[in-house]
């Protein structure tokens, strides 16, 4: 298993970088979705408060 001779570091670096990049883009997307939900909730709260004041 994983007996890739002299090429082992190159193979592992490639797969490792792929894992980091793909995980990064997945995490970034979910953080962005969460931030968008929060921004909309905040905007709705502010609008409701404004309506109550009026």
């Amino acid at each position: 298993m994983f007996d890739y001779d002299k090429y082992a570091p190159y193979v592992f670096w490639s797969y490792g970088i792929a894992a980091v990049v793909l995980t990064g883009v997945i995490v970034w997307t979910f953080v962005r979705v969460r931030a968008a939900h929060r921004a909309l909730a905040d905007a709705e709260d502010e609008t409701v408060e404004k309506g109550r004041e009026e």
């Binding site: 490639s14 792929a18 793909l22 990064g24 997307t29």
Partner: protein, 242 residues
């Protein structure tokens, strides 16, 4: 055309897209996992490149996706410019970060693969240079959305940049035929049976996984974009009310 009209409504899109986003993302991750397992453990070592050839299972599909994502963005940009489709801009903008990530992955894994096989990390040949240009176009496209005063101006300018940048796609594809390059010519989808099933299977599984992940993340990004637009509109309405 009918599908285009159905999904022109952001409300309808928001109501139906969530399960698809999850299904595509989860299926993408699972397929990539299976493909990586096949590439690392089941695929044979290449006769000439030995185990270094295993890098192709993450490198080549990322190259396909980098071009596919940009072609998708160009298509969406064209729809946006011609038909003013409400979601076309959102789709193009949402696909860009994922496309840029696949292009960065293609460049880095290609460089790592190149060193033990070619003896160099980088060569300014047609294929590598044109993919690097694609990566810069992605960055420029993302930056352009942030740089303009209004979303309307940004969408128009970004769509034009995307369509102009799409000229680079055939250059990438045919660069290995037009110029003498260090990069090898196409191996897959050529009609020649020059790759065995042991190589094709993990390649196609990872490619399908990348494609599914791209679809899922683009849908999630589109949803985030629509939510942010709604939040912005509510705040503007509040400001207008005083």
């Amino acid at each position: 055309m009918a599908i285009m009209t159905v999904f022109a409504n952001p409300h309808r899109f928001m109501s139906v897209s969530r399960p698809f986003a999850w299904i595509f993302t989860v299926a993408g991750v699972a397929l990539i996992g299976v493909g990586v397992y096949m590439g690392l453990f089941l695929a044979p070592a290449d006769a000439r490149q030995g185990d270094a050839a295993r890098i192709m299972f993450v490198h080549v599909p990322s190259a396909w996706l980098s071009m596919f994502a940009f072609a998708f963005m160009a298509g969406a940009s064209l729809v946006s410019l011609v038909w003013r489709h409400a979601l076309a801009d959102v789709a193009a903008k949402s696909a860009a970060p994922c496309g840029a990530a696949f292009t960065a992955l293609c460049l880095t894994t290609g460089s790592i693969w190149g060193y033990p096989i070619w003896g160099t990390w980088w060569e300014w040949d047609g294929r590598m240079t044109s993919v690097l240009i694609l990566f810069f176009i992605y960055l420029g496209y993302i930056a352009l959305w942030q740089a303009m005063d209004t979303p309307q101006k940004a969408s128009r300018a970004a769509a034009v940049l995307c369509l102009v940048g799409a000229v680079n796609l055939p250059i990438i594809k045919f660069s290995v035929e037009w110029w003498n390059t260090l990069h090898q010519t196409a191996t897959f989808f050529t009609g020649d049976n020059n790759a065995t099933y042991g190589f094709k299977a993990p390649m196609y599984v990872v490619a399908l996984g990348y494609l599914s992940l791209f679809g899922g993340l683009t849908l999630f990004n589109m949803r985030a974009e629509i939510l942010l637009t709604r939040a912005e509109m509510r705040l503007q309405r509040r400001l207008a009310l005083g």
